[in-house]
Symmetry: C2
Subunit: 389 residues, 2 copies
């Protein structure tokens, strides 16, 4: 019986996946996709590695750092540049503090309007870390590319994770972003000061600040500069937004652009839905995160407990000092909300405003989309109230 | 009597203002602020100069192109660079197709929720033009500035228009934008192929693509590179967003950032509110514009006639081919909306989505602000329906 189990394990492409922290709640086990309880997010401006949400599309590859190779190729040219891990570490070291978010974060709220296809993410498919590595701009320059030339329009990233037909995970970003002086795209080998954990891309992950998680390709094996976007499933037929009236019979994936920079979002992490909260001195405390893609900075978070009749401006507990358009990290916030005597329950709403003064849409009804991505409507959290005895 | 009139005119600081097209509806006459009927906007991808909205803060200065001078100064340095109009025209000529919008565009819709302070703009305080001039990046390089140095954080623009105390109109932009390779900030001397009309900044206007009209300083007289933002009224105590619950008793202008890049917006131009529209083959036609600041591109416009139960994707009639983050022009769109038999009136709503998948807030209630700026909630247009006989 034990031997049989072992054999079964060995034939499972996921048998080599790493151990995970027990607090991570899986949305799927194979591939592994999991998030922490959202209350943990607001406890730390920098999310600890083992509590960081994991979003894998395929089994985690086992990579020997000694033999690891990164290939760099240019469309229409025969030259292939091959870099070892040590080669990458020889470039000037650059650190970015940056939040990564899954396009499907908060999908379970959108699903309540109407079913969507996708993993059941809560509001913790986001985390904030310090990523250290070589600037892609420097690496491509060393590979002989003139980063000011705009010769190629897209930079493809391929992972070393593969499907049963040996096809790797892949995605691309616009090349302007990949080489921009202020883009800060890096080939990262450290996450929060230690080698990137296996679940997060060991030994090298493409880190693309301000851009959806799906383009931050883990276990990076190949970079390809091209006139075209990646033709991968995840670039072409997934991770795109559509009108609320587009369904699976009418959808045409060629009609929408691949998600890159993400829109402004916020979420309430404490309290959670249906929690009983104690009113202290006529107030309750609400905490959450807010973030915007594209290097925008959160400039204000408003919270209401009366359907928008009064909005209370949150104070910021954690925020990076970088100015837009290079503000890559989330903002943690706290709001003190006055509660009228006798009120037994309220619904809390939060909305963020970014440095372009973009703000969140109010309701999921009008942003619903069949893949359940870009789920950035107001977070609405019903709670019950009690008084101190 | 005639002589008296002439004397009175001469003492009026506005007596030298140019003649304007009769179709422009003034929101104020001195200073002159006016917009065309919104239906004119969707007739032309490029707005004709004489139909372009005018937003003046002060009298229009009369400037002799022969003696015109632009001063360029650097904080902490004694050198002043002085350029004539001919000097500016000697730089490589660069054209950008770009929309300019007033921060107060669509203010009259927000005012319906609760009064605000500001000019009563409808939805036509926006226009799209081709602007030609010298790149600020080139001009500053020639003035001895290392545009890659990030030595200064802000670039101030001062107009030659002055108030009764001789104080000029002024504003500043972050210097990264002013010198960025992809920022395309220009010192423009042509608007749609002719010298810029007096109302729009003759002979030189700072053109800052993707950024609110107020920073596109007309009648440019001085550029100043500084460690600080402009201390002008319009930078510090105006053109900022606040929470809906902030009023004139509680407002602190130091707490909000100056508006620069603008959020995504759209508006319905045809039909107009309360118009009677003929249903043809069970459909009506709706036309409008959409735009987003920061070089973002409009990727979708949705229109509904049933409160969001069904959304219809508009087709684009006019859109620039530039990719984000250098997509500066608006998008003109048309939607065919099916109308059920017997329906006598509907309310049309439009919303746009930009290339960062930011979208518009639903209602003015939750974005109301005391200055009535950033008025980008869904445009809601009630109309009456009639059938062909
Ligand atoms: Mo994702
Ligand atoms: Mo304006």
């Amino acid at each position: 019986e034990d031997a049989k189990e072992a054999i079964k394990d060995m034939s499972d492409p996921y048998h080599n996946d790493p151990k995970r922290h027990k607090i991570l709640k899986p949305a799927s086990v194979k591939p592994f996709n999991a998030e922490p309880p959202s209350s943990i997010l607001v406890d730390n401006f920098i999310t600890p590695n083992d509590l960081f949400y994991v979003r894998n599309h395929l089994p985690v590859p086992e990579i020997d750092p000694e033999t690891y190779e990164l290939e760099i190729e240019f469309e229409g040219k025969t030259k292939t540049v091959i870099l070892s891990l040590d080669d990458i570490k020889k470039f000037p070291k650059h650190t970015v503090t940056m939040s990564i978010m899954c396009a499907g974060n908060r999908r379970t709220e959108m699903t309540k309007i109407k079913a969507v296809k996708g993993l059941g993410w809560g509001n913790a498919a986001i985390g904030n870390a310090q990523w250290t590595g070589a600037k892609l701009r420097d690496v491509l320059t060393a590979a002989g590319y003139d980063v000011d030339s705009d010769e190629y329009k897209h930079i493809h990233f391929e992972g070393l994770d593969t499907d049963p037909t040996s096809k790797p995970y892949g995605a691309s970003i616009p090349s302007w972003k990949g080489v921009d002086k202020r883009g800060e795209v890096i080939l990262a080998y450290e996450m929060n000061g230690v080698p990137i954990p296996r679940d997060h891309g060991y030994p090298i992950r493409a880190i693309v600040p301000g851009v959806v998680g799906a383009r931050n390709v883990k276990w990076l094996g190949r970079i390809f500069l091209s006139s075209e976007e990646s033709d991968s499933h995840w670039q072409q037929n997934d991770y795109k937004g559509f009108s609320p009236s587009t369904d699976w019979d009418t959808v045409d994936f060629t009609k929408s652009p691949a998600i890159q920079e993400l829109p402004v979002i916020s979420s309430i992490c404490k309290p959670i839905a249906n929690q009983t909260v104690t009113v202290v001195d006529g107030h309750i405390t609400v905490q959450g995160y807010a973030w915007s893609g594209g290097g925008m900075k959160i400039v204000r978070v408003d919270v209401t407990a009366d359907g928008g009749d009064t909005w209370h401006v949150a104070t910021f507990d954690g925020q990076d000092s970088n100015d837009p358009p290079q503000h890559w990290a989330w903002t943690l916030w706290t709001a003190k909300i006055p509660i009228p005597d006798g009120t037994e329950n309220v619904e809390l709403w939060a909305k963020a405003v970014d440095s372009n003064y973009n703000t969140q849409p109010e309701s999921f009804k009008n942003i619903w989309n069949l893949r359940g991505v870009l789920s950035n409507a107001y977070h609405r959290v019903p709670i019950n109230l009690q008084r101190e005895k």
